[in-house]
């Protein structure tokens, strides 16, 4: 086998050198499932952006219509209507924007904090590392879902608090990944070189260390968006998530429980929406991992 890889390696040498990004892109495109994930994610983002524009929140998304409650799927309502006569298709689509935006915002917040903490811990090491990571350990000692539940329960369920709760449970994960990545590049030659020419610590971290630790961080980010969306759905399902009447998949599923026997279609579409979203993000994340680090394949 080693001979095969060696030969493969040789084969690649003759290929013209391309920028790293283009290379990653090429490898990603080669991976059909990852590409499928990417296409679905792009579609979902489009749905997320367009549905608040296309559908009027007041009249189409949350307006109740008692004359058409609990209608099974039909031409007028392809996914049927819910117990308040609202169109499930519109609500499912609209919820995409809620879930995706919260997912992305949360991950951005968690990433920002995690980057700072993780790179500080990884770069400086010693006491800084110990203190930061011990605190992170405390957060990691509580299963993420439970920590988020506690925070939302305490602060009340608003979108802001939801973001805070999810971010708090995600920060330690990012801090860990960043720390690990930073530590591997910290002692590499180009960082030593930067240090030798007298660059400041922050400059080194942000200009030399982090860009070279991107691969695991990007992968973690993609996968974490999926985790957060799943987690928000879970919180909403137990009534600690997005406050009604704003549509959210988990909350829609929770509402469908009472109608599961006679109106089982109600519990299908929001669930499918979650699954497709998570599936595509996972496919993309896996694909990115493989594309960014071909050794892992």
């Amino acid at each position: 086998m080693s001979s095969v890889t060696a030969e493969k390696g040789n084969g690649q040498v003759s290929v013209k050198k391309k920028s790293q990004l283009a290379d990653v892109w090429k490898r990603l495109c080669r991976n059909k499932t990852a590409l499928l994930g990417l296409v679905i994610v792009i579609l979902l983002v489009l749905i997320g952006i367009l549905s608040p524009i296309i559908f009027d929140y007041e009249t189409q998304v949350i307006k109740t219509d008692y004359s058409s409650t609990l209608q099974p799927p039909s031409a007028a309502h392809p996914f049927g209507t819910d117990e308040l006569g609202r169109d499930i298709l519109i609500r499912t689509l609209y919820a995409t924007s809620t879930s995706l935006s919260i997912g992305v915002v949360t991950v951005v917040v968690a990433l920002a904090v995690g980057l700072v903490l993780g790179s500080a811990a990884g770069y400086f090491g010693g006491k800084v590392d110990m203190i930061i990571m011990r605190i992170m350990d405390i957060f990691l000692a509580i299963p993420g879902t439970l920590l988020a539940i506690c925070i939302v329960a305490s602060l009340g369920n608003s979108i802001t608090n939801l973001v805070i709760a999810q971010a708090v449970s995600a920060i330690p994960k990012f801090a860990r990944v960043v720390r690990g990545a930073v530590m591997t590049v910290r002692d590499s030659e180009y960082v030593e070189a930067a240090r030798a020419i007298g660059a400041k610590d922050t400059t080194i971290i942000f200009h030399d260390v982090l860009p070279n630790s991107l691969a695991p961080i990007i992968v973690q980010t993609t996968l974490e968006v999926a985790t957060v969306i799943l987690s928000i759905a879970g919180l909403s399902f137990i009534g600690l998530g997005i406050p009604a009447p704003r549509p959210e998949w988990g909350a829609m599923l929770s509402a469908s429980r009472s109608y599961i026997r006679d109106y089982s279609y109600m519990c299908m579409f929001p669930g499918l929406a979650i699954m497709i979203t998570i599936l595509s993000l996972n496919l993309l994340g896996d694909g990115l991992r493989d594309a960014l680090d071909p050794r892992l394949r």
Binding site: S2, S3, V4, A6, E7, N10, G11, R30
Partner: protein, 337 residues
Amino acid sequence: MSEDVKKDLTAEIKDLVIEFRTDYGVVQALNGLELEIERGKTLGLVGETGAGKTTTGLSLLRLIPNPPGVIVSGSIKLDGKDILSMSEKEMQDIRGKTVAMIFQDPMTSLDPVMTVEQQIAEVIKLHEEGGQAEALKRAREMLELVGIPGSRGGEYPHQFSGGMKQRVVIAMALACNPELLIADEPTTALDVTIQAQVLEMMKGLREKYNTSMLMITHDLGIVAEICDKVSVIYAGRVIEHGTLEDIFKNTRHPYTEGLFNSLPNLEDRQAELKPIKGLMPDPSNLPKGCAFCPRCDYAMEICKTQKPDRTYRNDTHYVECHLYNKDNIQEGKVKSR
């Protein structure tokens, strides 16, 4: 010509073509390889990294990973029997018993979660009579034989140094008295002092058991020390073959010559080191003519378009190069134009 002479061959490979079919294209690993290993003798297989040496070794065990490796054509015979037509079960009986292999990197060649004596006993139990206890006893004897106290048999590979691990691998390979031992760069990963010890040990063991051996290496020093015959392999094909004397004293192929020239000469340290220019050709895109042509100082027009035929200098020595024909083969190297 040589067909007429009846040789006692342990292994014989004829016109072997092996391809690796990957996403990146089809790689021609072996390209009509021919090989003969005489009983009790040692054949050196010399070439650069990526020339197909390990593939050749693995093909004798029929262990080419498939996918992506595919044996396209050719034959591999052990003791005159074609192994390509054998069942998997028959092959399992051959592996470790008739043919054993020592791998390049002792660090990764041992299962990290099994004691070394168990790993040796495993092969003994598979191929010899007797139970677990007897196999373990034999395993410890084998360890002693390669210079490791039998009492350390209960330890795990991570508790051994690199040289000792390679001894374990050798003990494992020799445990069932194989007829053919394939040693794939057995000393490359080791320190120089350890290299000598291991080589010395292998030599001793080979003589003791009269084992045939295929010594895969890129180190001409090892070849000189241990081999009876030498095959020089380039891009999946033997381009020059002969006895030690044929190759060392009557070098014909420009590539073989290049290999010698890239060695430092102790007697004349002023002499210029002449590494072979360039790299191995992309095995997924081999030149139409002679594979060595792009790197050859003597390349002619014909080299670019046509594959060279085999030319014999004597019964034991042949070369594949357009520089030579029946008439000029005895004269030696054609001077550069």
